[in-house]
């Protein structure tokens, strides 16, 4: 199961973990710079070269803050909630193949593991809103649960077309099955649905109703500060990185590409999709909650089903491989 290019598993694990955390931290910088670019501003450009050390400065600042739990909160749950968000997102990276023979755990059910972990992330959000004992947090986490549960349905369905084509749930097999043609061409419908669903799963604008700051202060993490807030914040960006990595793995051939080493291709593609997440955030307003839900159930779910049926029919007609 373990394929780490000859490295001991602990070394591979730690390098993947730190690599992901660094990419997630850099995507905070990337997002702020890109949003500046989209709004004809400069973004943070003072701390370090191109403002790259802004993230470091922010991290030092947020660690220096008091680690405070509100007296009215349910303390144990309040403390447990943020690690769930970040841990589930990080755990999913175990199944993502970053390069040939460089994956922490090539599970036979890798894709299901990813979906399971993103379902578990709902607990972090739900528990944080409940434990905060504040109306804004509770409203935010109620919205988050409704949104994530609805969007998970067709997130899973949109990926089934990929699974049907590759004949496997293992992400390594799925990447290998894209040798001839990347899945983004035959599975363009699945790609579109998965992209929308991953926006909703990571609670990013335009689907940021759980933390809608114009209505709910900060939604489910209103009562959080300091290190615990940093976990939510970083967890969001780990989630964005993860979903970009999954789009790359499932639809854009994973590590494959000419000339450059595979890990570089993987990184470049992932960063491209992180930038796309930022572009969508910079352009689209937040829908009303009923619009969000009806968009999910009435448009995205039928599209995902249509994609699955069509893919299945074509694969059946093509006959056994």
């Amino acid at each position: 199961m373990n394929k780490m290019a000859g490295l001991p598993i602990a070394v591979g694990l730690v390098s993947v973990l730190f690599g992901v955390l660094i990419v997630a931290a850099l995507s905070i910088w990337l997002e702020r710079r890109l949003l500046g670019l989209l709004q004809q501003r400069s973004g943070p450009n003072r701390v370090g070269p191109l403002g790259l050390l802004q993230v470091v400065a922010d991290t030092i600042k947020i660690f220096a803050k008091e680690n405070w739990v509100p007296p009215f909160a349910d303390k144990a749950v309040f403390v447990i909630a943020p690690p769930i968000v970040i841990a589930t997102a990080l755990a999913s990276f175990a199944v993502v193949p970053l390069a040939p023979r460089f994956v922490v755990a090539d599970l036979d059910i890798g894709l299901l593991f990813f979906l399971a972990m993103s379902s578990l992330a709902v607990y972090g959000v739900a528990l944080s809103g409940w434990a905060s004992n504040s109306k804004f947090s509770l409203l935010g986490s109620m919205r988050a649960v409704g949104q994530m549960v609805s969007y998970e349905v067709f997130m899973g369905l949109s990926l089934l077309g990929v699974v049907v084509q590759a004949g496997s749930f293992s992400l390594v097999d799925i990447v290998n099955a894209q040798k001839g043609l990347w899945n983004c061409v035959p599975q363009f419908l699945g790609l579109a649905v998965f992209f929308v669903a991953s926006l909703a799963e990571t609670r990013r604008t335009p689907f940021d109703l759980p933390e809608a700051e114009s209505e709910l202060v900060a939604g489910y993490h209103s009562e959080y500060s300091g290190f615990k807030f940093a976990m939510f914040y970083l967890g969001e960006y780990v989630g964005v990185t993860l979903n970009s990595a999954m789009i790359v793995t499932l639809f854009f051939g994973g590590w494959s590409g000419p000339f450059l080493p595979p890990i570089v291709w993987f990184l470049l593609k992932t960063i491209f999709f992180i930038a796309l997440f930022v572009l969508v955030r910079g352009s689209l307003p937040r829908p009303r909650y009923d619009q969000l839900i009806s968009f999910g159930w009435k448009l995205m779910l039928p599209l995902a089903l249509l994609n699955l049926v069509a893919t299945g029919a074509i694969v059946l007609a093509a006959g056994p491989r």
């Binding site: 670019l37 989209l38 004809q40 501003r41 400069s42 572009l279 969508v280 352009s283 689209l284 448009l299």
Partner: protein, 168 residues
């Protein structure tokens, strides 16, 4: 759905537009010519203080941030024995400049006055006085006022002011 894609495209095009931000400490915006910034006290062409301590600036000042004390020199010329502007109160409205009959008090295009302590924003007369004539060179109040400094008035208190007279 299409409108969402269209707005994404419109926003994306902003990447190629020029930045609006001015990188401030390195670059400055071009100020309008009548910018109202830091207040100075100017001198006339002979290098004497123009201020005759008439209190009109202090009277015109909406937040009352100007305080001064008049005194009379040996030759009868009035001057301000102290002149203090509290720039933490000043709203840079320029009313003092408009009120000033001698063009002594003037606003300059300087806005970089930040201080770490509020009390450092209280400028005394020696901080306010500049060596030049400011915006109105060659203007000499006593040359156009029609009165000369009265040496007899030196050191004496004046009687009640005649409000119908425009003369100092």
């Amino acid at each position: 759905m299409l409108s969402a894609l269209r707005s994404i495209w419109i926003v994306f095009k902003h990447v190629f537009m020029p930045r609006i931000t001015v990188q401030y400490p390195e670059r400055h915006r071009a100020l309008p010519p009548r910018w109202r910034g830091r207040i100075v006290l100017t001198r006339d062409e002979r290098g004497e203080e123009r201020c005759v301590a008439c209190y009109l600036c202090a009277a015109a000042c909406p937040p009352s941030c100007i305080s001064l004390q008049s005194a009379t020199r040996k030759d009868g010329r009035r001057y301000a024995s102290f002149f203090r502007i509290n720039f933490s109160r000043c709203i840079f409205c320029g009313f003092c400049e408009e009120a000033c009959p001698t063009y002594a008090i003037q606003l300059t295009p300087d806005y970089e006055m930040s201080e770490f302590e509020r009390r450092n924003l209280v400028y005394e007369k020696e901080d306010l006085l500049v060596s030049g004539e400011g915006k109105y060179p060659l203007y000499d109040f006593y040359a156009v006022a029609g009165v000369k400094p009265d040496p007899a008035a030196a050191g004496k208190r004046r009687g009640p002011v005649d409000p119908r007279s425009l003369q100092p």
